[in-house]
Subunit: 369 residues, 2 copies
Amino acid sequence: MNTTVGALIAVALLSQLLFNHPAAAEPARRNIVSPEVRADRTVTFRLLAPKVSQVILNAESGRKPMTKDDSSLWSVTVGPLEPDIYAYTFDVDGVATVDPRNGYVKTGRSTQSLVQVPGESPLYYDARDVSHGAVTVQWYPSKSLGTLRRMHVYTPPGYDAAAKVKYPVVYLLHGSGDDDSGWTWIGRANFIADNLIAEHKAKPMIIVMPAGHALPPPAPGEGKEHYVRNATAFQDDLLKDIIPFVETHYRADTNRERRAIVGLSMGGGQSLAIGLAHLDRFAWIGGFSSGGNLRDDKKELPAAGKETDKKLRLLWLACGKQDFLFNINQQFDELLTSRNIPHEFHVTEGTHTWRLWRPYLRDFLQRLF
Amino acid sequence: MNTTVGALIAVALLSQLLFNHPAAAEPARRNIVSPEVRADRTVTFRLLAPKVSQVILNAESGRKPMTKDDSSLWSVTVGPLEPDIYAYTFDVDGVATVDPRNGYVKTGRSTQSLVQVPGESPLYYDARDVSHGAVTVQWYPSKSLGTLRRMHVYTPPGYDAAAKVKYPVVYLLHGSGDDDSGWTWIGRANFIADNLIAEHKAKPMIIVMPAGHALPPPAPGEGKEHYVRNATAFQDDLLKDIIPFVETHYRADTNRERRAIVGLSMGGGQSLAIGLAHLDRFAWIGGFSSGGNLRDDKKELPAAGKETDKKLRLLWLACGKQDFLFNINQQFDELLTSRNIPHEFHVTEGTHTWRLWRPYLRDFLQRLF
């Protein structure tokens, strides 16, 4: 073995020992696996924590205490779980933490660990052996907000080669706990679209995923006012900056019949409010488990009648029966009915989680364009 | 106020109260700010944790105990700090956690919170008022590894408009604690390039940031063998899949004089090993705080002499004096000198952190093409 190779191997071994920096506080027991997902779809979560008195798994399915073995390894097993992607944290003596052994982390306003329980065959949101589009992390100058901002933009398979094709565009908005990476990182919007396009169930389209938090988080006690201010600021950013930028820098069709807006939770509220107030711009509108508020007190729903029926190609609402926002979505459905605004309201089982928003997106995209 | 607006405002308020899901274990004191970065560049970290007995700030600058006030709020103030981006975690009774109040999180093999201490004027890695390139999250099929993989690809300002220009390409590799998002998310490679290009200090170029972990993490006790297997697998992925994909799907120049490879830590070892063994493909090679090992026992450094001098346009090494890998980098420098391989070795102050890798990249990019 020559000197070069010897030196590099020594480096390799050193790196192995020391690659966690800053020096990890966690005791160095490197063979802990968490989460462990088994073939029977049970999942075991583990945390080495010698000095704490209680650890609770805080998951979408509820809170479950973990138990400590003789070596101070806390663990709990749940399931079998339905194939899906689940968020969780550990409650360590009252402090919510991510799983330090798990690199699959959800960022945004709340930081959580993620675990995927695979199905027996690839699911509609899995990366299958089909042509794949690309997701661009796109910075753009927002004159409305006076700052450089970020969005994610999905372009479909074949986009680069099809130099003269203009594509329809969906503006897809995230919820208040997420950021503009949420719809691809957790929501798998790109793979959902890839798979639908491959099966000819959806048209090739551009999906623009902006950042819906136009303002910094609210100060203590600043509730409704902040929400309205944020929604108004975001509407300006979307209509005056994002859409013009996309239509300049991407091969986006500018016809209203080829423009959709939809979102989840806060983003659902934004898409309903912006969309219904701007039928001249959006023919396809959706809201998943919608919350939030954009509309100020002077705005109304579009007037019922032929003009609206003609312009509004689709108004698609969905919500889980166990969602804390279910009642309000139901009331909105009833309001639309009483006003004779054509729409669909899809009621499903489930709470306020990504487990519903992925299938909602799958269903919604198939209806477009 | 009409019914619609009333309903939507009710939703807004509910969302405000409940937007953290799954239900946060942290007590609901929503006005805690952490980290708080002040104008004098001191930084205060805070964590509400009534039930734990010790919290330590675990930062790049070292470990510092936090103190608890009467309301169980732990805090510590550090600095003033040099303007830069710093990683940290909280050690909560021996468990390393991210800061639950801070959405700026580093993902990859280690999860850490990040805090940026701004300078008085925008720095070389800040988003300035210049033209910005785009970063594409690009999936590609890797035949070598038999799976779909992800990389990040930076395209410079004007890329879309310049339909016939071919650009030089830098392959930029991450370290073992990161993933393919590291160089943009923490390293700010895109903004560094934007700023240099705007100042005409670097050529417009494509920067390809692959995922350097070609294999799953090592099993317990599997050190050197895993490293070598991973490095070999990654070399195949890079040479046989990534580069051909990039040169098909992007307007990448295929001339070796317009192709560079560089990386940090594990990625530095990879770039030195792959680059020096493939001078037919790379004319520009660099290693920042290099570790790792790609070369198997049969490979050698290129032979000294005119042929190598002509092919190797730049071999650029850098390492911090306080880096745990400094000695090995110094030995590699000496080895290159003893073999008459032309190169540069830049010795700086500092340890094994991004605080060095961002300026190294800034310096290296200016030397290319």
